[in-house]
């Protein structure tokens, strides 16, 4: 359903992604793990065109596009089928919570206001911040902001949602509730790629775990395979640093 092929990306002399490929099936929840600087965030940003890759391609459904040479029109078309949840939320500071969730519906997809509002309210209800619908982002806690960020993504009914370290900026006590919400999203059967440091989350939710290091996919497989009995030395070394399990690493 989502095929990422041979993505390459360098920042000046630093090669951040060296030929990364991933094949993701419909409804899969792929969790990408790896030390900082391994290129996992860059991978997400490249396939959402926030960063222009130096090479590689993306296939979504039956459409394929070059990550390097995509035209504006192609980019827009692909983006309409994906949504992004940011590490620091990036809620629109000049819009209320409700307006934040409606923006992609009314302005980008030209859905009538009434229908958009109904869908937005439903999404806010679902993520549990309906009582804050008229507040501005600066009036919300980090956890509430990220809930709105997730509502803003889910309301678009995208084929895939990309999560870029969605809990890294949160206070420790708020991480749990947001992770629970992301699990709820996973249960809806939406295809997801989640970049995170939360090993326990990967263990519980992922249909597949991808371990990246130094700009390449070191190994991938079921959570059991990667987290319990990894084959590669680098994976073992990484896990030994971040385990014991059930502790949050921020």
């Amino acid at each position: 359903m989502l095929e990422i092929k041979n993505v390459k990306k360098s920042f000046r002399d630093l090669e951040v992604l060296k030929d990364v490929s991933l094949d993701i099936g419909d409804g899969e929840v792929v969790v990408i793990l790896g030390p900082s600087g391994s290129g996992k965030t860059t991978l997400l940003r490249c396939i959402s065109f926030l960063e222009k890759a130096d090479g590689g391609s993306l296939t979504l459904g039956d459409k394929e596009v070059s990550l390097k040479k995509a035209t504006k029109k192609q980019i827009n078309e692909f983006r309409k089928n994906m949504a992004f949840v940011f590490q620091n939320y990036n809620l629109f500071a000049n819009k209320t919570v409700l307006e934040n969730v409606m923006e992609g519906l009314t302005v980008a997809r030209k859905i009538p206001k009434q229908e958009a509002m109904e869908r937005a309210l439903e999404a806010l209800e679902w993520v549990g911040v309906i009582n804050k619908k008229d507040a501005y982002p600066s009036e919300l806690s980090g956890g509430q902001q990220q809930r709105v960020g997730i509502a803003r993504a889910v309301v678009l009914n995208p084929e895939v949602i990309l999560f870029d370290e969605p809990t890294s900026a949160l206070d420790p006590e708020l991480v749990g509730e947001v992770l629970d919400l992301i699990k709820k999203v996973a249960k809806r059967g939406i295809t997801m790629i989640v970049v995170t440091h939360e090993i326990s989350f990967a263990e519980e939710v992922a249909s597949r775990v991808v371990f990246m290091d130094g700009g390449v996919v070191v190994e991938e497989g079921t959570p059991d395979k990667i987290l319990v009995s990894p084959k590669e030395e680098r994976t073992k070394e990484f896990l030994s640093r971040v385990l014991p399990k059930d502790m949050y690493y921020i």
């Binding site: 992004f84 990036n90 629109f92 500071a93 000049n94 501005y136």
Partner: protein
């Protein structure tokens, strides 16, 4: 001794020229605003030659006295216009042109420079993530600017705009050197007639301080009504 009677008697006469000061301010700003938006866009978009020219303009205007800019405009524009009119055979007397026009242009030069800086820095102050989030919900570049970036930039820009407006009002007090009679010009004229210069300039002092005080209150009020939200960071 200070002749307080002459001072009080002429205060209203001098304050009556505030409309000219206001006219100069608004006229200069009306010229400066569109130019500063274009210039700021050129600076942000980095168009090869044009950006260079804009920077050169900003550097020269910010690097020379407003008084010198006024002398230039007042001496050179009529001269060039005259040459132009005579060479094209049009029968227009340049002395029929109201000098306030030179005032508008001369004051707008520096106003443009300072507004450009305000527009540029306020747009750049909006977090990059706002733009990215806009793209990711499917907005086009134009929609991102219209819906997200410009409204946020405006709230950052407003206090700076306020300062620029006050600076423009203050620089209109030099328009008397271009024979425009505004508050300062009037004070100078009455000073000449009564030879009570000091009293008239003290009057002008009060007129400006009180006027700008009210302008600042007004700007604060507008700021408050436009800024409904606090920036997240």
């Amino acid at each position: 001794m200070l002749d307080t009677k002459t001072m009080v008697d002429n205060l209203i006469d001098i304050a009556a020229y505030l409309p000219v000061t206001i006219k100069l301010t608004i006229g200069a700003l009306l010229i400066a605003i569109p130019f500063s938006i274009l210039f700021a866009a050129a600076e942000i978009k980095r168009i090869p030659v044009i950006t260079r020219l804009v920077r050169l303009y900003l550097s020269i205007i910010k690097g020379t006295p407003v008084l010198l800019q006024m002398f230039m405009i007042y001496a050179l524009i009529p001269f060039w216009l005259n040459t132009f009119f005579t060479s094209t055979g049009k029968n227009i007397n340049i002395y029929d042109i109201d000098p306030i026009w030179y005032g508008y242009i001369a004051i707008s030069l520096s106003a443009t420079a300072f507004l450009t800086e305000a527009v540029r820095s306020s747009i750049l102050s909006v977090d990059k993530g706002q733009k990215e989030a806009g793209y990711m919900v499917g907005l086009s570049k134009w929609q991102v600017y219209k819906e997200i970036i410009l409204p946020q930039a405006l709230t950052v820009a407003l206090p700076i705009f306020g300062n620029v407006i006050v600076d423009v009002i203050k620089s209109t007090s030099l328009a008397f050197t271009m024979s425009v009679t505004e508050v300062m010009g009037r004070a100078k004229i009455i000073g000449g007639m009564t030879t009570r210069y000091l009293e008239m300039y003290i009057d002008a002092f009060f007129v400006y301080v009180i006027f700008i005080f009210f302008v600042e209150i007004m700007i604060k009020y507008i700021e408050k009504s436009v800024t409904r939200y606090k920036s997240a960071r």
